[in-house]
């Protein structure tokens, strides 16, 4: 995949310019050796490496390349990494590049550097700041990690970690208080990872594996973890310890705050003195969204009750890992995904694209059928047309099964009558505030009924269950065709059917997985739920069952009369209704891509819970209060921000997250066995 992405930088104007500039100051710009040259302001570039790259997400295809430099000024050494100007990629890359730019970090602010030099694949290194924040991994496409470290060593005090040959500590800490703080930082990361220590040895034996070990007083990371945890771990091979560092690197992420701080430091004072005024000015100079989050966090919650801090430093996490959302996929771009006969050439790329931006309204009809699996990605347009016509006949024949039941027979067919009654009661309570379904005798409401009843014959064992009408409604709204809506709904039920199982096991397994993921990603919150009898996660039931539909504030619910007339309120609801309806469709198409995970909806739950963790714990919510709070969050959830959070959480949880979700947890696609819902026939 990356081959195609590898940029040919030679015809990139900006790159060329940067090359030129580079060769003005140093000769042989790619060598990266200690090329000494003078910068205008007395600074000296002592190391330079091109094509050093970060991957904002897990995927190699997403990347920002730039130039890494070490700059010496007086007795101080600084590191900079400036991305090249983008030449082709999406709209978001500009802001991404700004976000990731390392303007100039003094080495006094750097805690450690860990190098990864796998035998196969790219070398990279991770730079952890004293504050515990870390820069995203910097990949050296052309090698050069070793020279980088060697260069640093000539200018600052660099010590190889006693127990990790690949970790280098900068300015080794002597101050015991700082040591403790640092070890706390690490152990917190350990508790996040929640991985039991694989092996325990009573006295940790330091690994003496390297002649380059310089001294006896190098700081021992692992033993400080052990001390803190009150148990010892075997040093070299202990996966938990290794993980702890990885987790620290991954989770203690750098924010724009950190970037800016260091750049202000560099610009305005060389003596590491960052006064309160500067900090204030600086916060005011932050972009709105970041300032708001900082602001809200400090202001919204009265600090009476201490709340266990968030091990993931959520906002920072999201900023670094969650990619900015894109505008929805439009027709022109859609055409580029199709070959001449209408096959999707790269379904993964398509799903990726939709994951980050959704689909424009008028394309949904076509794209949803693919996302849902009703049509295969490699089918041609003609094949799809043909399938539609066959399926139409098939639909009509299933529909006739119930339509042809005469009233006399229905009298002796209680199950049918009850099912029909249930469906009829529900369709008139489904999205009536959306104009497509409003008004008396609305034909679309009748279509909802027909499709749902037909489905309950198509899948008689599963039958009809409340919530299904909520899932069908947007599909019919988009498809505007009875048979097509039916088959899309069938495809959706292939995934979500278990939500409606009679024994509710599909729901229970998802709620269980959710509790495991929260335990992994936010153990203080998990503990809080445990202590407050909230571990059943029933307060997330509706979110999961109907995939966050109905995120619409029900006016007048539980609030004192506000004096408005019912008419006024209902008109207000209408507008809000349409708006939220569109948001629901956007969210669903993102979830349906199954791009990062088929269980992204669970990470959505975690994302929302984490947004409000301070409020939940600070207010000491009990089960009832929490349920009410969640029910009333409706309409207050920012979809794009939450998706970004969920993406970040999903990436961070990685395999550990997937391990929390037992195999077969919906909405896994069923294995191809024609498996049906075997249920006791109790109605």
């Amino acid at each position: 995949m990356h081959e195609t992405e590898l940029q040919d930088l030679s015809d990139d104007a900006d790159y060329a310019a940067s090359q030129q500039q580079g060769s003005r100051s140093i000769s042989g710009s790619d060598s990266g050796k200690r090329s000494m040259s003078s910068e205008p302001d007395g600074a000296e570039v002592v190391y330079l490496k091109d094509n050093v790259t970060i991957h904002p997400t897990q995927y190699a295809s997403e990347r920002i390349s730039g130039r890494l430099r070490l700059i010496k000024q007086g007795s101080s050494l600084f590191m900079t990494w400036i991305p090249y100007k983008a030449h082709s990629s999406g709209n978001d890359s500009e802001s991404d590049r700004n976000l990731y730019t390392i303007k100039a970090v003094p080495f006094t602010d750097i805690r450690s550097i860990r190098r990864h030099t796998p035998a196969f694949g790219w070398q990279y290194m991770i730079v952890v700041l004293s504050s515990g924040l870390a820069f995203p991994p910097l990949y050296f496409y052309n090698g050069g990690v070793r020279e980088f470290l060697a260069t640093i060593k000539q200018h600052v005090f660099l010590v190889r970690s006693a127990d990790d040959a690949n970790a280098f500590l900068v300015n080794d800490i002597q101050d015991p208080l700082q040591r403790t703080l640092f070890s706390l930082e690490l152990s917190r990361a350990v508790s996040v990872s929640n991985v039991p220590s694989a092996s325990v040895s009573v006295s940790p034996a330091p690994s003496i594996e390297n002649s380059q070990r310089t001294d006896g007083d190098s700081y021992d990371w692992s033993s400080s973890i052990s001390q803190y945890n009150g148990r010892h771990r075997q040093k070299v091979q202990d996966p938990a310890r290794d993980l702890s560092i990885q987790v620290l690197e991954k989770f203690s992420l750098v924010t724009k705050f950190a970037w800016e701080t260091t750049s202000i430091l560099f610009r305005e004072s060389h003596n590491n003195d960052f006064g309160a005024d500067e900090r204030k000015n600086f916060i005011q100079s932050l972009p709105d969204n970041i300032r708001d989050t900082e602001h809200n966090n400090t202001e919204k919650v009265p600090e009476e009750i201490p709340v266990a801090s968030d091990p993931l430093e959520f906002d920072k996490l999201t900023l670094v890992w969650g990619k900015p959302r894109q505008p929805p996929l439009g027709s022109d771009e859609w055409a580029t995904f199709l070959d001449s006969e209408g096959r999707i050439m790269d379904s993964k790329a398509l799903r990726n694209r939709i994951f980050y931006g959704g689909v424009e309204y008028r394309l949904r009809k076509e794209v949803w059928k693919l996302l849902l699996g009703y049509h295969a990605y490699d089918s041609t347009l003609a094949e799809r047309d043909y399938l539609c016509s066959i399926k139409k006949t098939e639909y009509e024949s299933i529909k006739r099964q119930w339509q042809s039941i005469p009233p006399e027979q229905a009298k002796r067919f209680t199950k049918f009558r009850e099912r029909k009654g249930l469906v009829e009661k529900d369709v008139v309570r489904t999205d009536r505030s959306v104009s497509f379904y409003d008004g008396d005798d609305n034909p679309n409401v009748r279509l909802l009924r027909d499709i749902l009843l037909t489905y309950s014959f198509y899948n008689f064992d599963l039958g009809y269950c409340q919530g299904m009408s909520d899932l069908l409604s947007p599909i019919l709204f988009v498809m505007e065709d009875e048979s097509e809506s039916f088959w899309c709904f069938v495809a959706l039920m292939e995934r979500l059917g278990p939500n409606f199982n009679r024994d509710q096991n599909g729901m229970h397994s998802q709620l269980f997985a959710l509790s495991k993921i929260v335990e992994l990603l936010d153990s203080p919150l998990h503990n809080y739920f445990e202590q407050n009898d909230c571990l059943n996660y029933f307060f997330c039931f509706r979110w999961v069952l109907i995939q966050f539909k109905r995120q619409r504030k029900k006016r007048g619910w539980g609030t004192p009369e506000n004096g408005g007339t019912i008419e006024e309120e209902e008109r207000g609801e209408d507008k809000l209704g349409e708006f939220e309806y569109e948001k629901t469709m956007r969210l669903w198409e993102v979830l349906w891509t199954h791009y990062l995970s088929e269980h992204l909806h669970l990470y959505m739950c975690v994302a929302i819970l984490k947004r409000y963790r301070k409020k939940i714990m600070g207010d000491q919510m009990d089960f009832d209060t929490l349920l009410k709070f969640i029910n009333e969050l409706s309409g207050h959830i920012d979809l794009d921000a939450t998706l970004r959070d969920a993406e970040a959480l999903c990436i961070c949880a990685g395999e550990n997250g997937e391990a929390c979700i037992p195999a077969g947890t919906p909405p896994s696609l069923p294995v191809e066995t024609g498996l049906s819902y075997s249920q006791q026939d109790d109605i």
């Binding site: 309570r429 269950c465 539980g558």
Partner: protein, 207 residues
Amino acid sequence: MASRRRMLLKVIILGDSGVGKTSLMNQYVNRKFSNQYKATIGADFLTKEVQFEDRLFTLQIWDTAGQERFQSLGVAFYRGADCCVLVYDVNVMKSFDNLNNWREEFLIQASPSDPENFPFVVLGNKIDVDGGNSRVVSEKKAKAWCTSKGNIPYFETSAKEGFNVEAAFQCIAKNALKNEPEEEIYLPDTIDVAGGGRQQRSSGCEC
């Protein structure tokens, strides 16, 4: 546990899907009826302050989903209930026949300390429909059942027209109160009865 809800009365509304549980609750709390309520998924509750014998209480009314499939959730919501309201639709026989199931299911899941005397109230809803012409369960029949189950109070209501809803919930509140053990009710409290209407939701933690 005992002091958890000294001023809070918890009421659970049960009954088949579509009998009008959500509508009744909203009619009582907000004095409104809307055709746009959605089928209930999961559970929700509304609270209302009620005054009774010069004391103020918070009535916490739980509205749950009617479909059988969701009953396994019940246990989380039924716990600690002070009164259970059973609703049926006077125009749907099945919803009346099911009252017994709902009652038993509740007693099993909530397992109140004194099941024999646990307060229930039965509501026959939607009496407005068709001017009463489509009615299939007679008042007499309903009352007979209520009597047989230990004299359960019975009300005929219309959530749509607001008929008898207030009276029914007065009775519900009264019965919920009866269920509260004495010492829980008469704990010294700081409710300003004279000031009237100052909400005081005591939830157990020190205020």
